[in-house]
């Protein structure tokens, strides 16, 4: 439930920003063209809501543990979801089919104080060289402050 609420908040924020920007733009014009007003709004709603829906449909997350740990580490949940969306977009832009996105709190029995957020993106592809190159890009895209967030790409 918590993840749904955050995703909706995220969508709401993105759409609100788009509306504000359109209204600001509109206030600078003397003539109002209704289509000009509607087009960017429609694009924004489709773009962001579809992306979030896509992520939501393939996301498998241990919500309670992950969200609690992220709060401790001051990792912004919206930034985190935006990163996941960017990751999906990057993979899909190279025609890599994403099967699922798993987000867990990783713990180690042999190292009791060690914890990390573990993102694993499972993909349908046997083009391993491309996957490794994309994985490197995904690792670099991650905010540097997220020291305890690890991303993995795993072919099925």
């Amino acid at each position: 439930m918590m993840q749904s609420i955050h995703l909706l908040e995220n969508t709401y924020d993105l759409i609100s920003r788009s509306i504000n920007s359109t209204l600001t733009d509109l206030s600078n014009k003397s003539l109002i063209n209704l289509q000009q007003l509607l087009n960017p709004l429609e694009t924004a709603i489709n773009k962001y809501s579809l992306k979030l829906l896509k992520l939501y449909s393939i996301l498998k997350i241990d919500v309670k543990k992950v969200v609690t740990y992220m709060a401790q580490k001051q990792i912004d949940l919206k930034a985190f979801f935006n990163y996941l969306i960017d990751a999906l977009e990057l993979l899909e832009s190279r025609n890599i089919q994403v099967e699922s996105v798993h987000v867990n709190l990783a713990e180690d029995e042999e190292d009791v104080n060690w914890k990390a957020i573990d993102i694993t993106i499972k993909v349908k592809s046997e083009d391993y060289d491309t996957l490794i190159s994309l994985w490197t890009e995904l690792a670099k895209m991650k905010p540097k402050a997220w020291k305890s967030v690890y991303i993995g790409v795993e072919p099925l």
Partner: protein, 139 residues
């Protein structure tokens, strides 16, 4: 061969030979029987090859567990240090460590040839990256 890392190179060579045999399956060029034990050993050696290179880069070869702290893993320490250094293959080493854990401990799953080929390629990528980024560490 990098000084002091001949064992890591041996591990990687073993893993690459198994990977090459898996990739050549259609031509039937097998030299060993590719049992689950061999496939799992291959993933494990691929991880340790990459780990030993990373341990060199992070200056943790002489690491000793702090006195009074019983449960600290050198493996996590190396990965975290790579991360602190801003080295992107830290994520790959972490995931390879996970794959090695599954290969060695999760005996109720089946390790597929593709998982082995993937793990060896990831290990090769980590080692190639570290060699390129830190040539002075491997002279």
């Amino acid at each position: 061969m990098s000084r002091g890392l001949n064992i890591a190179d041996d591990f990687l060579l073993f893993a690459i030979e198994i990977k090459d045999q898996l990739e050549a399956r259609q031509t039937g060029k097998y030299k060993v029987t590719l049992t689950q034990g061999v496939l799992r050993t291959c993933i494990s050696r691929a991880y340790y090859a990459a780990f030993l290179y990373a341990r060199r880069v992070t200056n943790l070869e002489r690491y000793r567990r702090p006195i009074g702290i019983k449960r600290v893993s050198i493996h996590n320490t190396v990965i975290d240090r790579l991360k602190e250094m801003g080295i992107p293959v830290a994520d790959m080493l972490y995931n390879l460590k996970k794959a090695r854990g599954k290969a060695d401990y999760n005996i109720y799953s089946t390790i597929t040839p593709n998982k082995v080929i993937w793990a060896v390629k990831v290990a090769q990528q980590i080692i190639d990256f570290l060699k390129r980024a830190f040539p002075n560490k491997f002279q």
